[in-house]
């Protein structure tokens, strides 16, 4: 299972990119999209929303389930991936690239270090599988 080393991960299966000017990109992992099955719809937050780490900010739906996506860090939403409205399958096909969900201006960039690294996240996936 693909778990890129350059990213950080939350236990709830969100990935977080390296920050660029204090802004990170967030999506769900290859493991998560596989568990969900074919994604049919994504409910994204609004640009400008202020979110706290742990808040449910998005919903990814498959035919039989709907999964909450949680903000991995505290900050403000700066962008959402509008392309997912007509092509939700990008989350399945390219969860780390075209399937990104939203970008977040992080209040405290150092907090990213508190998230799981690739090895720790791999262990979480093995536990759940």
């Amino acid at each position: 299972m693909d778990i890129p080393d350059t990213l950080r991960y939350a236990r709830s299966h969100e990935w977080v990119s390296q920050p660029e000017d204090g802004v990170v990109t967030v999506g769900i992992s290859a493991f998560a999209q596989d568990q969900l099955g074919d994604v049919v719809f994504v409910e994204l937050p609004a640009v400008g929303d202020e979110v706290a780490a742990g808040d449910a900010v998005a919903v990814v739906e498959s035919v039989k389930t709907a999964s909450d996506i949680y903000a991995p860090l505290t900050g403000t939403i700066t962008a959402v991936n509008d392309a997912l409205e007509n092509a939700p399958e990008r989350i399945n096909e390219a969860p780390y690239e075209d399937g990104w969900l939203f970008r977040l201006q992080v209040d405290d960039p150092a907090a990213r270090e508190g998230l799981l690294d690739a090895d720790a996240y791999r262990a979480v996936c093995e536990e759940e599988a």
């Binding site: 049919v40 739906e61 035919v63 039989k64 709907a66």
Partner: protein, 446 residues
């Protein structure tokens, strides 16, 4: 017993297979003090006694005399073919179509229903029906609150009083604010204050039967960032300007006039039709078209992730069932009548209602008219409306739906006509009014 087929032999065979000595043993987990209470219920009746009993009850009901009652549900022509087709046992004794391969009957009929409601309202997406018009109004308010993230609802007093009561019941627990807009000259004026409103809800025709000018109201709602909810009579949409044409975001209403028997108030069905933008917020079931593995067209329940069995605490609504069989009957009926028949019924209703109003005015009664109306109109009366309705019932006519004091008309009733209203019925109404002492000169001095 009655419908369980088990003989003593069956029970013995089953207990042997299970490894239990008695049926009582199967209830061993139920604490003894709770088991087998004395139930004070009448002795069971066989089928003959049952029907005798029910017929005796029904004999004390008036299901026959001329009726001038409306207020959202009315007696319209319901052809025999409608009832026979809708009540086929495969439709009646089917469950929710969760296994679509063996449920194409219900699923396709629902897809046809959704299409019909979309055509009538001029909006693109209908759900598979709801409990009734009143609860559909409440659900529309909840939808608007979710979509706009606001908690203020502005509603016209022209919306049926029972719908407004249900709206209050539903919203009361959510700390939402409901503001009622008074009618002016029997119609809804453009409200002064729509700031922060999630929705403006207006009914057309309104509870007093009057047609409303919806375009200006829709514009005012949108200017304030609110959704416009149009509560409509589905039969009237055979001829009237549609919610889609006036710019509504949501159309809801009571479906009974499209072809469901009166049944003392239910089951009927509510409908909700919305714009594309609101599809994901729509409560209730939805049927969509798709293909099977061989490329054959088929239908499935879709977008189920909105619903309670998946979203649970975060569902759009707790609604689980729809009023499938009632909506099916309406679907069959609309197809039985076709667009021409539906239009003729609507036109017949308008003509008979206007002719009745003219006749009553001609006899000196005080019909309250300020503009065009569809099936009904208010009439002032000389006594408490409930007393009048009772007196008219005793005189052999079902008429005099009481209008509440909030409309500022004094003692007044709603008089309704449909395409079924015959001259002899109108004569009977006039005779009954005179017989109970409801004479025009009484009203003028009343």
């Amino acid at each position: 017993m009655r419908y369980a087929p088990h003989t003593e032999e069956d029970v013995r065979r089953a207990l042997d297979a299970i490894g239990a000595a008695s049926v009582g043993e199967l209830f061993a987990d139920v604490p003894a003090e709770l088991l087998d209470p004395e139930l004070d219920l009448p002795e069971p009746m066989d089928e003959v006694a049952l029907m005798d009993h029910l017929q005796a009850l029904a004999a004390r009901d008036d299901a026959r005399s001329p009726s001038f009652l409306g207020g959202g549900v009315r007696r319209h022509f319901l052809p025999a073919v409608t009832r026979h087709l809708a009540m086929q046992s495969e439709f009646v004794t089917a469950y929710t179509p969760y296994q679509p391969e063996v449920s194409q009957g219900v699923l396709q009929a629902t897809f046809e229903y959704q299409t019909i409601m979309s055509e009538l309202t001029g909006l693109p997406v209908s759900n598979a029906s709801m409990y009734d018009g009143a609860s559909a109004v409440a659900e529309a308010a909840l939808l608007a609150m979710r979509a706009t993230r606001r908690d203020r609802i502005v509603v016209s007093r022209g919306v049926h009083p029972e719908s407004r009561e249900v709206l209050e019941t539903y919203l009361h627990a959510l700390d939402a604010e409901i503001v009622v807009v008074d009618l002016d000259d029997l119609a809804t004026p453009v409200p002064g204050d729509l700031d922060g409103a999630a929705a403006l809800i207006v009914q057309n025709p309104n509870h007093l039967g009057r047609l409303e000018t919806m375009d200006a109201l829709a514009d005012a709602a949108h200017a304030a960032g609110a959704l416009f909810v149009s509560v409509v009579d589905p039969l009237s949409l055979a001829i009237l300007r549609t919610p889609g044409e006036v710019g509504a975001d949501i159309a809801v209403g009571e479906g009974q006039p499209l072809g469901v028997p009166l049944q003392y108030g239910g089951p009927h069905f509510g409908f909700m039709v919305v714009t594309e933008a609101l599809v994901r917020q729509l409560p209730g079931r939805l049927v969509g078209e798709t293909r099977d593995v061989d490329g054959r067209r088929g239908f499935v329940l879709t977008l189920q992730a909105r619903e309670q069995h998946i979203r649970r605490g975060k569902a759009k609504s707790n609604i689980c069932s729809n009023h499938q069989l009632a909506a099916l009957m309406a679907t069959v009926n609309v197809a039985a009548l076709g667009p021409h028949g539906l239009r003729e019924m609507a036109e017949g209703t308008v003509r008979n209602a206007h002719a009745l109003a003219d006749r009553l005015e001609g006899e000196g009664y005080e019909v309250v008219r300020s503009g065009p109306f569809f099936a009904e109109f208010p009439m002032r009366v000389s006594r408490d409306p409930r007393a009048l309705r009772r007196d008219l019932q005793r005189a052999g006519v079902r008429a005099g739906l009481p209008l509440p004091p909030e409309y500022g008309l004094g003692d007044a009733v709603l008089i309704t006509a449909t395409e079924l209203t015959r001259p002899a019925d109108v004569d009977a109404l006039l005779a009954a009014l005179r017989a109970v002492g409801e004479r025009p000169e009484e009203v003028a001095h009343g």
